[in-house]
């Protein structure tokens, strides 16, 4: 650094615009005969400088603003006391918010405008001119700094004693590693995310129940054209891990005309007289696919607008999602309630690296 060829300052004294010729201007056009800076234009006094009445008025304005600010503070405190929040009265929340807020607003704005007006109208209207100096400082201090490093290097033998230096680097690289390992504890030690992602609460015989009440659903009660939000039996009563299970097991149940359903041959018996159940969790990034268009049998994800065609085994017809929504095979039990035939045959929800078809 100390041996920089471009010694001296990057910027010449304030009197001229000329750059130091030793510093490369690159491809900048350097005009041999530049225009001369005309210098500062003549000072124009403000109206408060020339008219004592206007000066007085500005002074009054500033004072009034500061008193207004005090008034605003008092107002806010008074509003706090006079307009409490009454139980079960939402209008009182609004009043409390509005009146405390407006008082605080007055307190703040008045002091702000007052100080700025004072600065602009009354404080001496001067502009100063500071000289700029090269940010790199003087050659002398650069040399001195380089010398300090050179001395430190000589005295410590940092460059010379390569064995010490390299082992130190090794130690410094190694010492944070245990901290990295500690981060494994962020999630339960004995669990594997891939395994968890592959399974949901659904299994053979699990009844389909209403979200959120948990009441079982009779096939006969699902009317044509309806869409029902479904959770597995037992989820509603869970106290631990309820949302984690729900985030995987949420299902949308729809009844279509059986003739409108274009079912895959291997899934022929996954529906029950036009009733189909699909995972509600979008295969894009996992939002609930909650909007059902009855006429077109399309499902729309409100987050990123992926659209799925229920009639066509929930294939993606538009949007960033790639995979169809996984289908839950269903049937009815002896009492006529809808039940799952098994768990989903593939992981539900967003794609993940270890997911294999």
């Amino acid at each position: 650094m100390a041996h920089d060829d471009h010694s001296g300052t990057d910027i010449a004294a304030a009197s001229s615009d000329a750059h130091d010729p030793l510093v490369s201007p690159g491809t900048a056009l350097v005009v041999a005969d530049p225009f001369e800076n005309p210098g500062f234009p003549p000072h124009r006094p403000r109206v408060t400088d020339t008219n004592p009445q206007r000066e007085k008025r500005a002074q009054r304005t500033v004072t009034v603003l500061f008193y207004l600010s005090i008034l605003g503070s008092v107002w806010a405190i008074a509003a706090y006391m006079l307009f409490p929040i009454e139980t079960n009265d939402m209008a009182s929340v609004r009043t409390n918010n509005l009146l405390i807020g407006l008082g605080a607003t007055l307190a703040l704005l008045a002091v702000g405008f007052g100080v700025v007006h004072w600065g602009k109208a009354l404080m001496a209207d001067v502009e100063l001119v500071d000289e700029r100096h090269a940010v790199g400082g003087t050659e002398k201090s650069r040399v001195a700094a380089a010398q300090i490093f050179a001395d430190a290097n000589r005295e410590s033998g940092f460059s010379r004693r390569t064995m010490i230096r390299r082992s130190l680097f090794g130690a410094l690289i190694a010492f944070p590693l245990p901290a990295v390992v500690l981060f494994r504890g962020f999630a339960p030690q004995d669990k594997d995310p891939v395994h968890l992602l592959n399974h949901t609460m659904w299994k053979k015989g699990t009844r389909l129940t209403l979200d959120p009440s948990g009441a079982p659903i009779k096939a006969a009660d699902v009317t044509l054209g309806s869409a029902v939000h479904v959770i597995p039996e037992g989820l509603a009563e869970m106290t631990e891990g309820k949302l984690e299970e729900k985030a995987k097991a949420a299902v949308l149940l729809m009844r279509l005309e059986p003739s409108a359903l274009n079912e895959l041959p291997e899934r022929k018996d996954w529906s029950y007289s036009g009733i189909v159940a699909y995972s509600k969790i979008c295969t894009h990034v996992g939002c609930p696919v909650a909007l059902y268009e009855q006429q077109t049998h399309h499902l729309l994800c409100p987050c990123h607008q992926s659209q799925f065609d229920v009639a066509n085994h929930c294939e993606v017809i538009f949007g960033p999602a790639k995979r169809p929504l996984p289908q839950l095979p269903i049937t009815v039990d002896d009492e006529g309630y809808l039940v799952a035939q098994s768990d989903f045959h593939e992981p539900v929800g967003p794609s993940f690296w270890e997911r294999s078809a």
Binding site: D10, M123, V126, D130, A250, G286, F352, W353
Partner: protein, 547 residues
Amino acid sequence: MSTATTESATSTTSAAVGTTDTQKRSFTASAALYLNERTSLAGFIKELGRKAFPDHWSFLLGEVALFSFMVVLITGTFLTFFFQASMAPTHYSGPYVPLKGVEMSVAMSSTLNISFEVRGGLFVRQMHHWAALLFVAAIGLHMLRVFFTGAFRKPRELNWTVGFTLFILAMAEGFTGYSLPDDLLSGNGLRIIDGLIKGIPLVGTWISFLLFGGEFPGTAIVGRLYTLHILLLPALVVALIAIHLVFVVVHKHTQYAGPGKSPGNAVGPPILPIYAAKAGGFFFIVFGVLALIASLFTINPIWNYGPYDPSPVSAGTQPDWYIGFADGALRLIPPGWEFQWLDRTWSFNIIVPLVALGIFIILAMIYPFLEAWITGDKREHHIADRPRNAPTRTAIGAAGVTFYAGLWAAASSDILATHFSLTMEGVIHTLQAITVLGPFAAYFITKRVCLALQKKDREIALHGFESGRIVALPGGEFIEVHKQLDEYERWRLISFESYTPLMVRPDVRGRISTRQRIRGVLSRWFFEDRIAPVTKAELESAKHDHH
């Protein structure tokens, strides 16, 4: 403008603080003396107190950012006294009737408590949210100002990267804060983050698993985000703001070209008293405006959304505005960008937006170094450019803004569709075109506009402006008299840096390195179309033409 030197201030300071005689001093003088003898503050005041601070409305944008951050800190501290970052389930028992008895997390119920039971709590909460929105917006505008005026050039390149990091941290602060109430909207936001992370090759599944402390949503995430939101991120933001401002002191502020101003000076009102008064007053104005907005306008009414549940969602879900560009990027991916390969899932519908945004951010971050390399200019620059005088840079900036705007608009694609009765597909396809092709159009148009404006400037500098005075000549001809600029006005038009394309020449060994070749190509791209600045000779001959 009357100009004084910095010297005048020193005498009074030393008189007040430095005297040791026993004559009676005022209380202020004694206090100042006491303090100085324990802190050496006088030297600091002497150094900084009368610094000239260049003045321009566009320099306020950074101040808005700083001041709204201060408001965020003040209001946020108040909120921490009430908020409980726990995902433990509870049944709501507060005064808001529609949610009575509803199962929710303690985080959500304590947020409702702040809103509905703590007097002024809703006011502070809304001010916190509005101030956070303004904070990010002000940083964005401040960055645009710095970019378009070239205020990132030597010696300020590093400060640009510090500021850019602050921009990213501000968005992280915003997102972590947004997620804390554990309401339906923020929970869906986290769900999207979870899906996004899971789509990252190799490490995604495990990162998500560790972040959420098990399966999504788990019971850990709110507490963890809270630690980030009130400890780690604010500490980083405060530290980087300090560095940012120290840099401003070291470099001194840039200034626009003007008569008397030169690269070698800094012209403006002194820090004490005028700058301090204006900036101090401005802090209260920003604070006051935020208070006004918070008292009049609802933000994030979580009581309408309800607690997080993975099953319901409301139509028209949207993130806070500054996350929109990322959400929009996800929406614009065409169908089918996901593949099975090597028995693994490659989610390009997630990888592509992440990589594209990453490249965008990196390009913006390294732009100052890139431009410095292309121009090869090693001088310090303290005069802010007028955007028109750097046409290619301005055009690149416009392209970047257009790209961002396309992504951002896409985050509202569904709202655009329903609001204007358009098809979802039509909106997405249009925005895809805008995001991909728009930057090129913006680049081209902006560059031409800049060059045209430069031409106009040149014209005015040489031949003056139309005075509106029509004169009939004896021969019957009418002409409009052009009035010459005075020298101060002209100086603003003609004092700017101009660059020429690099002539690539062989080095001493007679070879042209690839590096030089690339630099030559980029330099031609930047500077081939240029309007030459007015020269003295041209001005002289133009004057003769008119007389």
